[in-house]
């Protein structure tokens, strides 16, 4: 669309708009981030996107900080700041406004119907994130197997996810993937 424009402005516009549709949290917005960063703007390759996702999972902090990494790769430190603030600022202000409004108007619970309606949509979005990330990360059958094993382990046990990331890193280091 406006790839010739100032990259900071593009980042702010892209992530500011995306955040308003990121119902269900940052992981639900992964497909959209992938679509824009890889397919439309060509900021990253598929492989780089998978790498960046891995780095964001390896480091502490909210999952949304994957946008810091995307922003940095587009426009350095200024890009990292711009992308993060654009992704978090507008919706944070909205949350502030809504919570104030609800606190003043009544003590009632949040409308249950709206929540019931949104839950299946956010699960569907997160499923799509899983698929898109798997297509970017799993280039070999061994990789597919490792992903399936991690998914099964995390689903069936309460093992700390960090150990699985570590195991993945070690297997990668050993040249298995």
């Amino acid at each position: 669309m406006n790839s010739g424009a100032n990259p900071i402005a593009t980042l702010v516009w892209t992530f500011g708009l995306m955040s308003l549709f990121a119902v269900g949290g940052a992981n639900a917005a992964i497909p959209e981030m992938h679509r824009i960063a890889v397919d439309i703007q060509h900021w990253l390759t598929d492989k780089q996107f998978a790498d960046i996702y891995a780095i964001s999972q390896l480091s502490p902090g909210p999952n949304v900080l994957i946008v810091t990494l995307i922003g940095y790769s587009v426009a350095g430190i200024a890009g990292a700041l711009a992308a993060t603030l654009a992704m978090c600022g507008p919706t944070a202000m909205l949350a502030y406004g809504v919570s104030r409004f609800l606190a003043r108007s009544s003590q009632s619970r949040w409308p249950a119907t709206i929540q019931a309606a949104l839950v299946p949509l956010s699960i569907g979005l997160m499923g799509a994130s899983g698929l898109i990330l798997a297509q970017a990360a799993d280039r070999t059958w061994v990789a597919v197997l490792m992903t399936a094993a991690a998914a099964a382990l995390a689903f069936a046990t309460r093992l700390n996810p960090f150990w699985m990331l570590l195991a993945g890193g070690l297997l990668g280091f050993a040249g298995v993937v």
């Binding site: 119902v23 990292a80 949040w110 949104l118 699960i123 998914a151 689903f155």
Partner: protein
């Protein structure tokens, strides 16, 4: 001016929180959120709950669930929304900003350093192999979360919910349609269905 009146200079909180034993100050908010953020590998929510409900007793479990439900239902990163709503509840706008900054600034600085390292060294063979392995595992973790979240609707045999879920999955994951278009179509549809179902359930 007596030293005690200093606390009165803080902007009035949005909700009376007088019944709660502890009322965090601005620095306390910043530090608490910075801590839970830096402890939170693969998601901060668990740590946020632990710190807010169990450790500091700033909220009861029910209050926390309600606040989180609001933040989950609003767009944007949930934990970031939570930090603002939580902080502002105790210390007004300044409290919201303190919690927001505590949650985001420290991990963002760390992330920027990692990004710089990746740009410089990302093509080194050893690092490439390690990252490839980590991303396989990370994707598996993301998929496991989806399966966990799918269990309640499956148990309840919520056919309509599961149908909407699959429809969104196909539209975004397979057809790669833009998020905004899909949500603008799916949200009203899902709302309408849920509204009708509830009316039928309680005539």
């Amino acid at each position: 001016m007596p030293p005690d009146s200093r606390t009165d200079a803080v902007p009035a909180p949005d909700i009376a929180a007088a019944h709660l034993p502890n009322r965090p100050g601005l620095a306390e908010l910043f530090l608490a959120f910075a801590k839970m953020s830096l402890a939170g590998f693969g998601g901060v929510l668990v740590w946020a709950r632990r710190a807010i409900v169990e450790q500091h007793r700033w909220m009861t479990a029910e209050e926390f669930n309600e606040t989180y439900a609001l933040c989950h239902f609003l767009p944007g990163p949930n934990v970031v929304n939570l930090s603002v709503v939580f902080g502002s509840r105790f210390r007004g706008i300044a409290g919201g900003i303190a919690a927001f900054a505590g949650l985001l600034l420290p991990p963002m600085a760390l992330m920027t350093i990692l990004a710089a390292l990746y740009v410089r060294y990302g093509e080194i063979d050893v690092l490439r192999r390690i990252l490839a392995g980590v991303s396989c595992a990370a994707v598996g973790l993301a998929i496991a979360v989806v399966f966990r979240m799918m269990m309640p609707p499956i148990r309840k045999r919520d056919v309509i919910g599961l149908g909407l879920m699959v429809a969104v999955f196909i539209a975004i994951g397979l057809l790669r349609l833009p998020l905004a278009a899909v949500l603008l179509a799916a949200t009203p549809l899902s709302l309408a269905i849920n509204f009708v179902m509830r009316r039928r359930a309680s005539p």
